[in-house]
């Protein structure tokens, strides 16, 4: 009867967005007459920060300050289409849509600036809200001046639309096989879990999670960090606590009130060590891949393998509740026959006397 420490590791790879069946996100960018930018993207921000990330992508693509961007995604009816905020697609697919839209608007900014400055668009750059001649930085015009010229002189609305879509997969009607492009971006992650398991109560305490995520490019590192930390606690919940139907597919004993479903609380918070790796994707906006869903995928297997390291049992159903751990330990405590041998676990067994001085097995007569 003791507490045992264990360490486990899990690694994952995570593809961004849906594949095989089309997956559009669309966006629209337009300039107000004073140079401020309206961005309409369909992507829903439920706290993960896609509005901020999309505004950053547009600001950096256009070459204007972040504060100039208003990202309005409040109106479903008039918003551009987006398949949704799921499948870790908000930054990669939604972000590409806003990038494409901003690139087109930037072309129009350069075109109008070119008329005003009488310099070829290819010799112009937009930096911090100013269109500047490459190599002759004092020949310039501000983006607000460009937007005003477009509005009042040329009668143009500076705008751009963008659409990101993975094409539909080709399905072979004869054998049903599917031919599709491979995923355009795959993110990678690893999680190390340090746990303590009480072999008397079956309780597991996660003491530390070390989490490493390759997200391509962290467009907003603080938001990525928020996903990593939030994902850690969701993964801990999935691994140890959360269960809607304990005897699934039986529906008995399902919780019917808040307290019957255990979500991780502040008391469950382990030490978190996070690392972001930026190994860029060729296709994502500024090299970004994804963080979304994978943030809660690696903890449950890492915790399960740490439990195995601690008490030598594999819990093969999530969550690893005290009941499941104790049953697994019990099963392991019981001596079992393997061919001519009776095998038992020397450390765990309470029902078996060792006559071999702790060598872990007994020869039987057989």
């Amino acid at each position: 009867m003791a507490k045992h420490k264990g360490r486990g590791i899990a690694t994952i790879e995570y593809p961004t967005g849906m594949n095989q069946n089309g997956d559009p996100s669309q966006a629209w960018v337009k300039l107000k007459p004073d140079g401020r930018v309206d961005l309409f993207s369909g992507t829903v921000d439920h706290g993960q920060g896609s509005r901020t990330v999309h505004a950053q992508i547009v600001a950096d693509t256009l070459g204007v300050p972040f504060e100039w961007i208003t990202n309005d995604n409040t109106n479903t009816d008039s918003s551009a289409v987006c398949t949704g905020s799921f499948a870790s697609r908000g930054t990669f697919i939604g972000g590409n849509a806003v990038r494409f839209a901003a690139e087109k608007a930037r072309e129009r900014i350069l075109e109008i600036a070119s008329r005003e400055l009488e310099i070829d668009p290819s010799d112009l750059d937009v930096i911090e809200g100013e269109v500047i001649a490459k190599g002759a930085p004092d020949r310039k015009i501000s983006v607000p001046e460009v937007a005003a010229a477009a509005t009042w002189t040329y009668g143009e609305l500076i705008t751009g639309t963008g659409a990101a879509l993975k094409p539909f997969a080709d399905v072979n009607d004869d054998d049903g096989s599917v031919e599709t492009e491979p995923h355009s971006a795959i993110s990678y992650a690893a999680c190390v879990a340090d746990v303590e398991v009480d072999d008397e109560t079956g309780e597991v305490t996660v003491e530390r999670l070390i989490q490493v995520y390759d997200v391509g490019r962290a467009i907003n590192p603080m938001l990525v960090e928020g996903q990593i930390e939030g994902g850690a606690m969701m993964g801990l919940g999935l691994g140890l606590l959360e269960q809607a139907y304990p005897y699934y597919p039986e529906t008995d004993h399902r919780g019917d009130e808040f307290g019957a479903y255990l979500a991780p609380s502040l008391e469950d918070l382990p030490d978190l060590d996070n690392v972001i790796i930026e190994s860029p994707s060729a296709d994502g906006p500024f090299g970004a891949k994804a963080i979304g869903e994978m943030a809660n995928n690696a903890q449950p297997p890492a915790i399960a393998s740490a439990i195995h390291d601690a008490v030598g049992v594999w819990v093969t159903e999530m969550p690893a509740t005290p009941e499941r751990i104790l049953r697994a330990i019990d099963a392991k405590r019981d001596p079992r026959r393997e061919g001519k041998r009776v095998v038992f676990d020397d450390e765990l067994s309470v029902r078996t006397m060792s006559s071999t001085g702790g060598n872990g097995f007994l020869e039987t007569d057989g």
Binding site: G226, I228, G230, G259, S265, L266, L269, D273, N274, I276
Partner: protein
């Protein structure tokens, strides 16, 4: 019955046993207290009653007669955040925001009552509030920043820099 909320006195018609949460949301249209579990278990309905954080889902109206109630609407405005709100903003301590009102008020009570609180006391004050999004780390950090007076309400945008996380770029010198 008279109810003082955020310094304004209201005449309330609801029955004496109606929950304070119901009265605030449905009768007074103050929707910052959230109806999460309505069993006292999640903390999203927390309001301050005479400065103390209480779960409004479990409080009958009759129990708060004459008390001063504070909700998030009474803390600060969008262009004039309270120190606790500014800290939450700065540290990205809210994602979906459903738990945020409760944490803000629990944190505010701590700031007013025991600004010198230790890490353990902070955790104690916030425990019992459930957050499904943030993993709690940034909430604790924000509350501690407010307690230590390390907030910058004049700042216009949140920092993009992570606080705990190392960023590694393969191939670049360490």
């Amino acid at each position: 019955m008279k109810l003082t909320v955020n310094g304004v006195e209201h005449d309330v018609q609801a029955p004496q046993l109606a929950s304070l949460l119901h009265v605030l949301r449905e009768e007074l249209d103050l929707t910052s207290p959230k109806a999460g579990c309505q069993q006292g278990g999640c903390g999203t309905c927390t309001v301050l009653v005479d400065g103390e954080p209480r779960r409004s889902c479990l409080l009958p109206l009759a129990a708060v007669e004459g008390a001063a109630i504070t909700t998030v609407e009474g803390l600060g405005a969008a262009d004039e955040l309270s120190p606790m709100q500014a800290a939450f903003d700065e540290h990205y301590a809210a994602q979906c925001g459903f738990c945020t009102s409760g944490f803000l008020l629990a944190g505010t009570a701590l700031l007013n009552g025991s600004p010198g609180a230790t890490r353990e006391e902070v955790l104690e004050a916030l425990s019992g509030h459930v957050c499904r999004c943030t993993g709690y780390v940034k909430i604790v950090r924000a509350v501690e920043a407010a307690l230590h007076g390390e907030v910058h309400p004049e700042r216009v945008e949140a920092s993009f820099e992570p606080e705990e996380t190392e960023v590694l770029i393969p191939g670049s010198p360490a």
